[in-house]
Every structure is written in structure tokens, then in C-alpha cells.
């Protein structure tokens, strides 16, 4: 997604001189396609994320479209109040780009794990929140949102090869993308782990469980109408996110069910405890937190089986 983002941004920047790229000293071997093409519109701000967002706010006030770039935690959490009191409060088109949602920086430890960025951004009504599921959708999402009038937060993965089969790069602001249709269970996924959810859906089919997979990449504006329409058709839904279960996609879906009085049971799959002291790569940490495709299949199977047992009794 990172490569797709940088290439697409460079294409857009060739057409619009307002676009600038600011980095908090990260992006070596990633941002060069932009930096080398537009050296006068690329600034390494140093390791100073608060100032980076503050400067971007001032630049946006002067008519520029600044994209600020760092790892998810440093892009969203360190300068959070600057984002709130800057581009959000002033409704200015600053773009915050966080790289590495979830456990993508697995071995780097908890300081680098992006597990609450969607939660803290989603509570702010004045910022668009985009979490693409693969590199193809990253490209279309950026093309659809780069010139929104207000601020945007992009949560991007690092992987530029994996795709979610059937997603085909589709993106619509405030909408859900449905991948496949089945009546037993609604799977709803956010971000790069959507590919694991898609794999889980295929495995579930081999077990005779037919699922619908929906990808939510526009968290704000939230795809409420689409979610309501989907959830109304199912008795069972399972959310999948590489994020704490509080505040992210699972919360959005649970809120939607509650707000609209829907009868759907929602199982939230996500991170439920801080991975303090547990070291490993992304796949290992997904497994530890029940987010591997195998764990998702087991959780979904148990959910469906239990529901059928209740129904039978």
C-alpha cells in the first residue's frame, strides 16, 4: 500500500502544485519516487511530529495540500492534539498518513504497533478516515479523497503485493465494498487483514458455511446505510480488524446495530490485550491475538455452530 500511495501521490502532484509531502524522518526506500521528482515539495521535518502537523496546518492555511507521513503511532498519537486543534478545528486539508496499521511492525514492539489509531481518529467528527484493504484500493481511495476540503487520516499497510480477491480496487467514500455473498454469516473487515478475512471466508465455504465478506475502508464518513442494509439481513456478524476491539471497526458495527435496533449478534475479532513482552512478526502476533485465518475460521465456526444449537433447542 505504501508503494501504491507514493506512486499515486506523485502522479497527483504532477497535476496539482499544491501537494506537498512532509515526513517525520521516515520513509527511506519508500518516499524517493516523490522526493526525487519533487524535491522542492518534499520536506524531511526531522523527528518532530507535533511541529510537522502544526506546520502542515499553516501550509494548508496558505493554500497547500500537505501530506504528513510517519508510522501509524507517530503519525496519529504523538501529534493527536495538534491534529485536533489544527486541521480539524480549522477545517483545513491536511492529510495524515500513518504507515503500518496493526502488527505490521511486529518485531519492533508495542511502540510501533498501530492498535488504536482508528479509535482515536474515529471520535473526531471533522476528519475523514480511510483504511484501505490492499494496494489497489489504496490507489483508488487516494484518487477519490486527495482533494477533499477537510482533513483526512489514511491508515496504510506496508504490503504492496497482497490483494483481497474480488475487491478489484473498488472504493467509495462512505460505502462498503461487498466481496462475496453467502447467507450464514456476515464477515466485516477493515484494513490489510481483510485478505486474511477473505482467506477465512474461502475456508469456511469448504466447511459448508457460506459467508458474505464486506470490506469497510471508509470509517469516516462511516458507511452507516450500507452497514444497516447488510446487518439487517444477518443474524450473525463477525468483525475483523488488526486494532484493539474498542473504538475501531467492531465498535462501529456494534454502534450501528444498537442505533438501528437490529437483531444481529456481533462478534468482534481484534486485539483485546496489550502485547507487552510478546515478541514476533506480524503473522505470529496475529495468531497470538486470534487474527490468523485459522483462528478466524475457528471463531466463525464456533459462532455459527452455537447459533444453530440455540436455534435447535
Amino acid at each position: 500500500m505504501r508503494g501504491a500511495f507514493v506512486r499515486t501521490l506523485a502522479e497527483l502532484a504532477a497535476e496539482d502544485r499544491r501537494i506537498m509531502l512532509l515526513t517525520g524522518d521516515l520513509g527511506f526506500m519508500a518516499l524517493e519516487p516523490f522526493a526525487e521528482k519533487f524535491p522542492d515539495r518534499f520536506i524531511n521535518m526531522g523527528v518532530a511530529e507535533q511541529n510537522m502537523v502544526g506546520v502542515a496546518t499553516g501550509l494548508a492555511r496558505e493554500g497547500f495540500l500537505p501530506f504528513v507521513y510517519s508510522i501509524v503511532t507517530f503519525a496519529s498519537l504523538r501529534p493527536y492534539e495538534f491534529i485536533r486543534n489544527g486541521p480539524i478545528l480549522h477545517n483545513l486539508p491536511v492529510r495524515i498518513v500513518g504507515i503500518g496499521g496493526g502488527f505490521e511492525y511486529g518485531h519492533a514492539g508495542l511502540t510501533h504497533h498501530g492498535l488504536e489509531d482508528v479509535g482515536v481518529m474515529r471520535v473526531q467528527p471533522g476528519i475523514a478516515l480511510i483504511a484501505p484493504a490492499d494496494h489497489e484500493q489504496t490507489r483508488s481511495a487516494l484518487q477519490a479523497t486527495w482533494d477533499l476540503p477537510g482533513p483526512v487520516y489514511y491508515r496504510l499497510g506496508k504490503n504492496d503485493t497482497i490483494t483481497v480477491p474480488g475487491l478489484d480496487g473498488r472504493f467509495d467514500l462512505g460505502r462498503v465494498q461487498v466481496i462475496n455473498e453467502g447467507d450464514d454469516l456476515l464477515l466485516i473487515a477493515m484494513g490489510a487483514i481483510a485478505s486474511e478475512a477473505a482467506a477465512a471466508a474461502r475456508l469456511l465455504a469448504t466447511r459448508g458455511i457460506a459467508s458474505t465478506l464486506a470490506v469497510v475502508s471508509s470509517l469516516n464518513p462511516a458507511p452507516v446505510d450500507d452497514l444497516v442494509a447488510l446487518l439487517a439481513r444477518f443474524r450473525l456478524a463477525m468483525t475483523v480488524e488488526e486494532h484493539y476491539v474498542v473504538g475501531g471497526l467492531g465498535s462501529l458495527v456494534a454502534e450501528t446495530v444498537a442505533d438501528h435496533g437490529l437483531g444481529c449478534r456481533v462478534l468482534r475479532c481484534g486485539v483485546r490485550s496489550a502485547p507487552n513482552g510478546v515478541t514476533g512478526g506480524q503473522a505470529y502476533l496475529q495468531q497470538v491475538h486470534g487474527l490468523s485465518r485459522g483462528a478466524l475460521v475457528d471463531a466463525a465456526t464456533a459462532l455459527v455452530t452455537k447459533s444453530m444449537a440455540v436455534e435447535a433447542s
Binding site: Q50, V55, T57, E62, F64, F82
Partner: protein, 244 residues
């Protein structure tokens, strides 16, 4: 409503800026200078200046800290004449640096003035902006430090020493000027002599008296917070030589 002592601390600086320095033909002039009150809690002084400029009506001013769309105790950019909302310390200089950089890139004659408090120099983010502005030679950026020596819950030399403040800014690469913060002519004259077209960013370290001009407020921590009684209000106006 509080922060009266803070407003009096900067009143002469604000008078110098709005009376002699800022090129603001109208609040919405596209090439106007920006003034960012990073110590937003002292905005009462700025409202007074906006009123004297004729950009804010007496009725708006009278509605200070009322309800609905009334003026708040920190500046909001929705108010004509306020370009940036502030209130959280350590934020204004970064936004100002960004605006100054943007103005330079646009070839705009805009200058950006940012008034920070001395205690605001406790904030690490302020020094991020100080480094950035010096590195990028933002000559059109002018910071003013209101050096009144006190903060919300103590005196700065007892809370977190800032001394030697001028040397610190100088060491970070700024063009530093130490000025009496109650000498309007000295402030305006110093700024008039700055090269805002090229070179490093500028800072005026302005020594001020918290609660200036009101005997019972001067250098008293409690007047960061307290509202005045009717009697105190009348005494303050008398001491300031203003009509009730």
C-alpha cells in the same frame, strides 16, 4: 472571567502590533499579516484591539463570555480578525511557521507574528518549531515572548527556569531582540528594523509586568484566574486612566 492579568501583560504589545506594525487593511485582506496569539488565554486584549480598529462592534465585545456565538475566553478563527484558534500552549508557533513557509513559497508579502508566553516555552513542541523556523530561515516569522515571569500556578523561575531565555533562542539560530514589553514605540521600532525578507526568523523577548497598571493585580498569581468584583473593576479603570 479570568486571565485579566495575562491580558494586561500583553496589552502594550498588542497595541504596538495593531497600532503600528500589522499590515491588515481589513480582516479578510488576502495578503494581510497574520497575528497568532499562541497564549490564547489573553485574547481579551486582542478583542479590545479589534474593537478599536472598528472590526468588532461594542455589542460583540459586550457579549464576551456570553452564550451562543459570543466571544469566548480563547480565540476562535470564526471571529472576524482572528486567523487561528488557539488555547493549547505550544501550538501557535508551529502553525505560524507553516504559514510563514507557505507565504514565502507563494511569494506573498505576508508576515506572521506569533505571541507566546514565557511559560509556553516549557512546551517541547515550541522548541520543535523554533528549530524548524531557524533551519528554514523563515525571515517573515516574528515571535514575541511575553516575559512576565509567572505562570498559572507559580513563578517561572521557581517552576521551570527559563533563564537565560534570550541566549536560548539565540543558540537556536534566531535573531533575538530584548525589548521593554510596555514601551509601544520601542516594540514598533524594533519590528520596523527587522529584515523580514531574508535571514533568520526574529524573536522579541519582551519583559512585561503581569497585571500591568492595576496595583492589586501586578505580579499576583491569583489574577491569572480571578474575575473582578464591581469595586475592583472600578478601581482598575481608575488606575488605568480609563472612563468607567
Amino acid at each position: 472571567m479570568g486571565h485579566i492579568g495575562s491580558a494586561l501583560s500583553i496589552a502594550d504589545i498588542v497595541a504596538a502590533l495593531y497600532g503600528h506594525v500589522l499590515r491588515i487593511p481589513a480582516p479578510n485582506d488576502p495578503q494581510r499579516d497574520y497575528f497568532i496569539l499562541s497564549k490564547g488565554h489573553a485574547v481579551l486584549a486582542v478583542y479590545a484591539a479589534l474593537s478599536l480598529k472598528g472590526w468588532m462592534s461594542q455589542s460583540e465585545l459586550n457579549a464576551f463570555c456570553g452564550e451562543s456565538d459570543a466571544l469566548g475566553s480563547h480565540p476562535e478563527h470564526q471571529v472576524d480578525g482572528i486567523d487561528f484558534s488557539t488555547g493549547s500552549l505550544g501550538h501557535g508557533l508551529s502553525m505560524g511557521a507553516g504559514a510563514a513557509l507557505g507565504a514565502l513559497r507563494n511569494g506573498s508579502p505576508r508576515r506572521v507574528f506569533v505571541l507566546v508566553s514565557d511559560a509556553e516555552c516549557n512546551e517541547g513542541s515550541l522548541w520543535e518549531a523554533v528549530m524548524f523556523a531557524a533551519h528554514h530561515r523563515l525571515a517573515n516569522l516574528v515571535a514575541i515572548v511575553d516575559l512576565n515571569g509567572q505562570q498559572a500556578f507559580g513563578y517561572t523561575d521557581q517552576v521551570l527556569s527559563l533563564s537565560p531565555l534570550a541566549q536560548r533562542w539565540r543558540a537556536f539560530g534566531w535573531d533575538v531582540h530584548e525589548v521593554d514589553g510596555h514601551d509601544v514605540e520601542a516594540i514598533a521600532g524594533t519590528i520596523a528594523g527587522l529584515d523580514t525578507a531574508s535571514g533568520p526568523p526574529h524573536v522579541l523577548i519582551t519583559r512585561t509586568t503581569f497585571g500591568k497598571g492595576v496595583s492589586y493585580m501586578e505580579n499576583k498569581i491569583k489574577w491569572h484566574y480571578l474575575p473582578m468584583s464591581d469595586d475592583e473593576y472600578r478601581q482598575a479603570l481608575a488606575e488605568l486612566g480609563a472612563g468607567a
